[in-house]
C-alpha cells in the first residue's frame, strides 16, 4: 500500500523542477517543457486522489481532460513559437520585445 503522501511529495518535487525551468531557461521550447512538467505534477495528484473515488471516477476523468488540454495548449504554443521564430529569428523570450508594428 503506497501512502498518499508519497505521491503528493513526488508531485511537489516535479512541480518545483518545472518552476525552476520556467524561471531560469532562456529558450521558449524549454519553458514549454517546464510547463509540461508542472501540468504532469498536477495530473499525478489528480490520479493519486482519484483512487478514493471509485463510483464517480472524478480524479481519473479530470486527469484525462487535463492531458487533452495540455495537448491543445502545446499545439498552439508551438505554432506561436514558430511564428515568433520566423519574425525575430530567435526564440529567446527575453529578446522578443516588440509588437507587430
Amino acid at each position: 500500500m503506497i501512502s498518499l503522501n508519497d505521491f503528493l511529495i513526488v508531485g511537489a518535487a516535479l512541480f518545483c523542477i518545472g518552476l525552476y525551468m520556467l524561471l531560469t531557461k532562456r529558450n521558449a521550447i524549454q519553458l514549454l517543457i517546464g510547463i509540461e512538467l508542472m501540468l504532469n505534477a498536477g495530473i499525478l495528484n489528480l490520479v493519486a486522489f482519484g483512487k478514493y473515488d471509485k463510483i464517480n471516477n472524478g480524479g481519473q476523468i479530470f486527469a484525462l481532460f487535463a492531458i487533452v488540454l495540455a495537448a491543445a495548449t502545446t499545439a498552439v504554443a508551438l505554432a506561436i513559437i514558430l511564428t515568433v521564430y520566423k519574425k525575430y529569428k530567435t526564440i529567446d523570450p527575453g529578446r522578443v520585445n516588440s509588437l507587430k508594428d
Partner: protein
C-alpha cells in the same frame, strides 16, 4: 516493504532524476529525449495509483503526440536556437540562476511542510471513502466505469473539451500559416 512500494520508489526516482537532468542540461535535444523517460516513469506511477487508463492515455498523447510535436518545432526553428543555447555556457548554478533555484527550493519546502501537516491519508473524505468501500482495488476493472461516467456524469465537460480542441486546431493552423504578402 512490498513489491509495489519498491516499484513506486524506483519509478519516482527515475522520474525525478530525468526531470532534474532535463532542467540542468544545456543540450536541448538530449533534454527533450530525457523528457520521454520522465513521461514514461510518470505513466508507471499512474499505474501504481491504479489508473491504468490514464497511464495509457499519457503514453499515447504525451509520448506519441506532444513530444513529437516539440521535436518537430525544435527542428523547424533551426540553427539559431542551438547558437543561442551555446551562448549560455554557464553551469548548473550560476549567478543568473540562483534566484530561480532559491525560489523553487523554498516553494518545495513550503509544499512538503503543508503535505506533511495535512497528512493526506487521514483526510476526512479519504477515511469516509475507505469506510464506504469506495476505493479502487488492484483487481478492479475500472475502464468500463470510466466510459460510463464519461458519457453520463461528465458529458458537459466532455463536450466543452471537444469544442476547445477544435478551437485549438483552427487557431494553431491560423497562427502558423504563411503571412500573405501585403
Amino acid at each position: 516493504m512490498s513489491l509495489a512500494q519498491i516499484l513506486f520508489y524506483a519509478m519516482a526516482f527515475i522520474a525525478l532524476a530525468s526531470a532534474g537532468y532535463v532542467a540542468s542540461t544545456n543540450n536541448l535535444v538530449r533534454g527533450i529525449f530525457m523528457f520521454f523517460v520522465t513521461l514514461f516513469a510518470l505513466a508507471g506511477l499512474y499505474v501504481l495509483a491504479l489508473a491504468d487508463f490514464v497511464a495509457v492515455t499519457q503514453i499515447v498523447i504525451y509520448v506519441g503526440g506532444i513530444l513529437v510535436l516539440i521535436l518537430f518545432a525544435f527542428l523547424l526553428s533551426g540553427k539559431e536556437t542551438l547558437d543561442s543555447l551555446g551562448q549560455q555556457k554557464d553551469k548548473l548554478i550560476s549567478s543568473g540562476k540562483i534566484p530561480g533555484l532559491i525560489l523553487a527550493v523554498l516553494f518545495f519546502g513550503v509544499m512538503v511542510a503543508m503535505i506533511l501537516r495535512m497528512n493526506a491519508d487521514n483526510l476526512d473524505w479519504v477515511k469516509q471513502a475507505v469506510g464506504a468501500d469506495n476505493v479502487i482495488k488492484p483487481t478492479d476493472n475500472s475502464i468500463k466505469n470510466i466510459g460510463i461516467n464519461l458519457m453520463t456524469t461528465y458529458l458537459l465537460p466532455f463536450e466543452a473539451i471537444s469544442v476547445l480542441l477544435m478551437m485549438a486546431l483552427i487557431g494553431a493552423a491560423h497562427i502558423a500559416r504563411k503571412e500573405p504578402e501585403a
